[in-house]
C-alpha cells in the first residue's frame, strides 16, 4: 500500500510539484504520464527518499518517507531516468554489489542474482562487463538491480526510453509480470498509449499538478464522454449519416472520407450493437466498424497544454 499525501516540491521560486496525492495497492501498475518538465522525475525522486519534499509525505506499508527513510528504502527499487554504470565491473559483480548493500545474506546472493538475470533475460551476459552491454541491456540490468531485494514498490522513471519495439514489448511483459507478483509498480512515460495497455491506473501530470487519476477507461471517459466509431461503407454515406443521427446513443455523425463515416457515440454496449445492426438492416454495405482508439494520444494532448512552468 502506497499513500502519497500532498507531496510538494519547490525549487526556490519554482514549484515543480504542487501537492499531489494518490493511493496505490499491491498489484497496481501505475502509469505516470506528463510532458517534459511536468514533474514526474521530481515526484518519483521524492517517493524514493532521494529528494526532500517541501511539504507532504508518502507512506509505504506503514513507513513514512520523511520519518523512516531507511525502512522505505529497504522496500523500494528505483530506476532513474539517467544512470551510470561502473566501469570495469562484471554484470554479476554489479548485482552482487547491490545485493550486498540491500543486505541480502551472502549465501543467498548467487541464487538471487541468477533469478533476476533470468527474469530480465540477461543470463547469457552474466560474465560480461557492464560497459559492454547495449543501451537496452543496461536498462534491463538496472531493472534487475532493482529486483535483488524483492521490493514491494518499483519506481521506474521512463524505463522504455532507448528501447527498440521488441524490447519495449518484453519490458511491458516483465512489468505486467511484476504486477502479478503483487508489487506496486510506478512507471513514468511521455506517451499515454504506450502505457495504456498494461497499466491498470494512470495519472496525468502537468505543471506539477495531477490532472487525472484512475483506470485508463475511466480517464478516457472523463475527458471524452463520447466515443468515436469509424464506419467504412461502400456507398450512400450522406444518407447513412442522416440515418445514424436518429439512432439511440449517437450524438453526431459526419462523413470523413469517400468511404468513411465518423460517429460520435455516447450510448452503452446495447446501443452500440444496435447501431451496427440497424445500419445493415437499412441496407448500407458496411465493410468495417471499429472504435477509434488512437484517440488516447488526443486525450493526452487535450488534457495537457504542453506548457512547462
Amino acid at each position: 500500500m502506497l499513500e502519497v499525501k500532498g507531496l510538494r516540491k519547490e525549487y526556490g521560486g519554482l514549484t515543480a510539484v504542487q501537492g499531489i496525492s494518490f493511493t496505490l495497492k499491491p498489484g497496481d501498475i501505475f502509469g505516470f504520464i506528463g510532458s517534459n518538465g511536468a514533474g514526474k522525475t521530481t515526484t518519483i525522486r521524492m517517493i524514493s527518499t532521494l529528494l526532500e519534499p517541501t511539504a507532504g509525505t508518502a507512506v509505504l506499508n506503514g513507513a513514512d518517507i520523511r520519518r523512516n527513510p531507511m525502512e522505505v528504502r529497504r522496500m523500494l527499487g528505483y530506476m532513474p531516468d539517467f544512470f551510470g554504470l561502473y566501469d570495469d565491473v562484471k554484470v554479476w559483480e554489479y548485482l552482487d554489489f547491490f545485493a550486498a548493500i540491500y543486505q541480502v545474506p551472502p549465501k543467498k546472493r548467487p541464487e538471487v542474482i541468477d533469478s533476476v538475470l533470468e527474469l530480465t533475460n540477461l543470463t547469457v551476459k552474466k560474465q560480461a562487463f557492464v560497459q559492454s552491454l547495449s543501451r537496452g541491456m543496461q536498462q534491463r540490468l538496472c531493472l534487475a538491480r532493482c529486483l535483488v531485494h524483492d521490493p514491494a514498490l518499483l519506481l521506474l522513471d521512463e524505463p522504455a526510453s532507448g528501447l527498440d519495439p521488441r524490447a519495449r514489448a518484453e519490458l511491458k511483459e516483465l512489468i505486467a509480470e511484476l504486477g502479478r507478483m503483487g508489487k506496486i509498480v510506478i512507471v513514468s512515460s511521455h506517451i499515454l498509449p504506450e502505457l495504456a495497455d498494461f497499466c491498470n491506473t494512470v495519472g496525468i501530470i502537468e505543471r506539477g499538478e495531477l490532472l487525472a487519476f484512475g483506470p485508463v477507461s475511466q480517464i478516457v471517459k472523463d475527458i471524452q464522454p463520447h466515443r468515436v466509431f469509424s464506419i467504412h461503407m461502400l456507398d450512400h454515406l450522406d444518407s447513412a449519416s442522416e440515418h445514424a443521427k436518429t439512432l439511440p446513443g449517437v450524438s453526431d455523425a459526419t462523413v470523413a472520407g469517400e468511404h468513411e463515416l465518423r460517429v460520435e457515440f455516447v450510448g452503452d454496449l446495447d446501443d452500440q450493437a444496435d447501431l451496427l445492426a440497424r445500419l445493415i438492416q437499412l441496407g448500407y454495405r458496411v465493410t468495417s466498424f471499429r472504435e477509434d482508439s488512437a484517440d488516447l494520444e488526443d486525450v493526452f494532448l487535450k488534457l495537457t497544454t504542453g506548457a512547462v512552468n
Binding site: 519547490e10 531507511m70 528505483y78 551510470g84 561502473y86 559483480e93 554489489f97 538496472c142
Partner: protein, 539 residues
Amino acid sequence: MSPGSLADWVRSNRSVYIGNATTMRDFRVQLRGSRSVLLFGLYLVVLILVSFFVYGETASRSLSIVDAQMQLKEFASTVMRLLGFTVSVVAPGLTATTIVMERQRQSLDLVFSAPVSPKYYLVGKVMSSFRYTWMLLVLALPVTAASVVIGGASWQDVLVAYMLLSMQALILTAFALLMSTIAAKPVSAIVWSYAASFFYNLVAISLASVYSLGRMFGSFGRGNEAPWYVTASPFTVLETSRTVTMIGGHSIPNWICFLAVALLLCRICLLGAGALLSPPGGKEIQGLRLSALVYVFALAIGIGWALHPHGSAPMTPGLGMGTVVKAVGADDTAALEAGQVLALCSGPIIVFLPFVACFGFDRERRYWPNGLFSIPRALDGTPAGGLPFLCAFLALFAVGMDLGALGGDGALLGPPFWAFAFYTAAFWVLFFALGRFVSSFFAGLKTSRTMLFALFLFLVCLPFPFLTMVTGVNLGLESQGPWNLYVLAPLLSRDSYRATYALIFGAILLLVALVVMLISESRVSKRLAVLGRTSESTR
C-alpha cells in the same frame, strides 16, 4: 542503552567495517586484469632501482665504521622518505575522484536509494583506497627489510614507521574524500586534494623542523622526548618513530598520540563529507557539529595548558609564532598572550565559516533562510543555527583555554584575555554577517561561499602585503598610521594597550556586523516577499 539496541549497534558497525560492499567492489576493480600487475611491477622496479642507486652511492665511498653506520641510517631514511612521498602522492590521487566521479556518472542515486547510510558508503570508500595505499607499502617491504638486514634500522623502527605512514595515508585519504564530496568536477577535486596534501605536508614538515631546529640549539626536549606532532610528517617517519611525549610522568610513544589524532581527523572529515551527502537536519551534520564543539573544547584546554605549564614562564612550544606573541611589558602578559593565541588559533574557522554562514541553492538541496538566530537549530545545519553554533564554538574555545590555563598555572586568565576573546568573536560574527550578506543576493550557495572566502582574502590577507609595502616590514612595532586601521591590528600589536585596542576593535567590528546583518535580513525578507512566500520557520 538496552542490550537489543547495543546488539543492533554492534551489527550495523560490523557491517560497515567488515565486508563493506563498496570496498569489495572497488577492490575487484582495482585488482582487475594486467593493468594492476603492470603498475605494481613498475612501482617495485622503480623502488628497487632508486634504493640500489642510493645504496651504491653510500657503499662506494670508503669510510670509517662510524661514517658507514651514519650512511646506512641515511639509506634507510631515504627509502622511508620515498615511501612517504609515495603515500602523499598516491593516497590523494586514488581518493580524489571517487565521489565526484560517481556523482557525475549519476550512479550515486542508485546507491543512496538503497538502505545505505553516508557513513557506510564513505567508510567503504576510505577503506578501499586506504587498502590500495597499504598494498603499496607492503610491496615495499622487501626494500625496507633490506635496510634492516644491512643494519640501517631496527625492525621495531620499521614497524612504527609503517604505522605512521599508514596513519598519514589515512589522513590524506580522508582529506581527499572530503574534497571529492565538496567538488563539482573531478579536476577540481584532484587539484584540491593535492592542495590539501601539500598543505598538510607543509604544516607537518615545518612543525617537525621547528622541533629539530629547537633540538639542535638545545632549547627543548631531552632524549627521545618530543612533541607528538613531529610524527605527522611523512618524510621523517624513521627519525621520529622512537620519540615519546611525557604526560604526567609517563612516557607515551608519539605514534600512539598520532594514531589518536589521525583517527579523530579522519572522523571529522568523514562526518563533514557525510553531512554534505545527507539533507540538512540529518544526524551526520549533528554529529559533525557536536564533534567540532567537543574537539575544539579539548584542543583549547590543551593549548591553554601548554601555554602555562606549571607556573613556568609562558611559552609557545613549536607553534611557530613566538615572535608574534612575544611579551612586551604589560601588567598581565600571560593573559595578553593567551588572548592573542586564541585570536590566531581561531584562524582555521574561515575554512568552515562559508558552510555555516551562507544559504541558497545547492543542486537539489536547499539551505533556505529560516531566521537569524535559533538555539534549537544550532546543530541541524540550517541557516538559523549558524550563528548560535559559531558563538558556542568560540565560547568553548575561550572557556577551554581558560580552564587549561587554570589546570597548568593554577590561575584563571585575566580580563585582557577576555578582551581578545571578545575581539575574536566580533571578528567572526562580522564575517558571519558578511556571509549572510553575500547570500542575500541569492546567487547560489556555491557563489555565496566563494564570495565570502574572497571577502576574507580581500579584507584580511590582501592588506598585509599592501601595508607592508607602505610602511616597511617592521609590522606591529609601535606603528602608527595605516597599520592601526587594519582588522588584525590588535593581534599584531605588541604594545601594552593591545587589550584596549582589542576591546575597541571588537566593539567596532560588532557594530559593523550588526549593520550588515540588518541590511541582509531586510534584503532577504524583501526577496522572500517577492517570491510570494514567507521565511520557513518550521518544517
